[in-house]
Symmetry: C2
């Protein structure tokens, strides 16, 4: 890739401030096909098929047609699609979509059943936290981002929901299944109990699906304005610390076309007293969608 | 859709706090096909084709194979894909991708040429700001969100870049091409001059592509921690106020496989003195990607 400097001397006038000299980098374009500009084709009607006089095509009409699209905004795609790309990860124990902007998953979906929960073929002491190499290095959450951040590497799909095989449990230890979570009083307490509550739904339902993920919610400030505010851990800052977490639960009766019980919960990423009933955090499913 | 209440009485124990009674909503599942569970098929090797003794298939191996997937996480998709969905809008004068979380575009791409810039077939006094009906109502930016917010409805693709037809200019007035921008001292001043600078690049380049969009960048706080913090306008809060805006410029020489000059700029959504040179805001293209 050749790199050269181009000095663009812009015109003066009112825009004197902004019209500074810009240094731009030239690069050879990796172009498969040039987007063609709009052209106007005029067709002459053959006298053997036309019964009337030739339809006049005034010059102004041609000019107007030519004006239809002097530009081609989609031609940008020759350089690649600008994104966003939601790195989708289908694994044995989960499916997740990664948000490159926050370096957190957008959502992680799991499926548990009475059988999968009863199986005991994995132990978390054999699992290790790993960076997700399926995500390009510069958009990935890093182990060093979490190091000494004060936050837990909080599983979205809990390791304990994937005891049915060591590989399935290992899947849950990728950082693309993690969000920075408050440890004491949340991840290791209330949130863990909440996860346990979800697992025990399999006592009543043959099939339970759970979607878990982070939220970055606005808060009303003293001046009456709403503001989203969250920490970003890592140096340089890389992984966003969510303000809240949600779970949407689909408890299925296991019949084809059968009934499904839906529940949605939003919990703050903060210390929560174990006395607080879970129902306090229940929300309409629509609220999570928003 | 039948709606009934299901009382789930969860077990007690350590999880007493979280294991509250959850009220869940039952709904009839709109299911086209039930995801099939993994089954194990054992094949007997025919003695006419096998030369050696039959390969033993121990019961433990079958058991192990059966354990491969007691669950089906992707089965969630029967309820629809959780997203995120980046509403893509291809219009005559722009292509944009909308971010439903921030209710701002993620990026808006345009294409200008010496001809398109020279054309004068539109006047902004005939254009009106409109909500983008292509985006579901609950994820859309609304006119009332901007009303009395203190922010301008800031064009990402400037109206003045689409003077080649009234329709093309009207395209730029959809709220999916807008972000809340500081008016005096930014949108109506420095940013406008910057847009003018981009237009004048067509004096030197036959084809110029510009991608514009919002950023929500972290700032180092007095305690040394990095924090993303931005206002959300509307009542209830709906449209995020970006902290910064970027433009990535592709100045093409118009030849097939030719050269392209690249430039990237990041400007704060704040009053900027017109004395400040634009080069102060130039960044490596990679920085915008991040």
């Amino acid at each position: 890739m050749s790199k050269f400097t181009l000095a663009l001397v812009a015109a003066g006038g009112a825009a004197a401030g902004a019209a500074a000299t810009a240094v731009m980098y030239g690069t050879s374009r990796n172009q498969v096909q040039t987007p063609s500009l709009a052209t106007t084709t005029t067709t002459t009607v053959s006298p053997t098929t036309a019964s009337g006089p030739p339809v006049p095509v005034p010059a102004s009409a041609i000019k107007a047609a030519a004006r239809q699209a002097p530009v081609d905004p989609s031609g940008l795609y020759q350089y690649g699609f600008p994104g966003p790309i939601s790195d989708l990860r289908p694994a044995a124990s989960l499916v997740s979509s990664f948000d490159r902007r926050t370096r957190n998953p957008a959502w992680v979906a799991e499926h548990i059943t009475p059988i999968s929960v009863a199986m005991r073929d994995a132990d978390r002491k054999f699992s290790v936290f790993v960076e997700d190499v399926g995500i390009p290095e510069k958009f990935r959450a890093k182990l060093k981002d979490y190091f000494r951040s004060g936050y837990d590497r909080g599983h979205q799909v809990p390791a304990a929901d994937a005891k049915w095989s060591q590989e399935a449990m290992d899947d849950t230890f990728a950082l693309s299944n993690m969000c920075p979570q408050v440890g004491e009083g949340f991840n290791r307490d209330y949130w863990a109990h909440f996860e346990d509550f979800c697992r025990r739904l399999t006592n009543n339902y043959p099939s339970v699906r759970i979607v878990t993920g982070p939220l970055y919610l606005p808060k009303r400030e003293p001046d009456g304005k709403w503001r989203v505010s969250y920490e970003v851990i890592g140096s340089p800052p890389n992984v966003s610390v969510p303000t809240h977490f949600y779970k949407v639960i689909y408890a299925e009766d296991g019949k084809i076309g059968g009934n499904v019980s839906l529940g949605a919960f939003v919990l703050p990423n903060a210390v929560i007293s174990n006395d607080k009933p879970l129902t306090d955090f229940e929300v309409p499913v629509e609220a999570v969608e928003r």
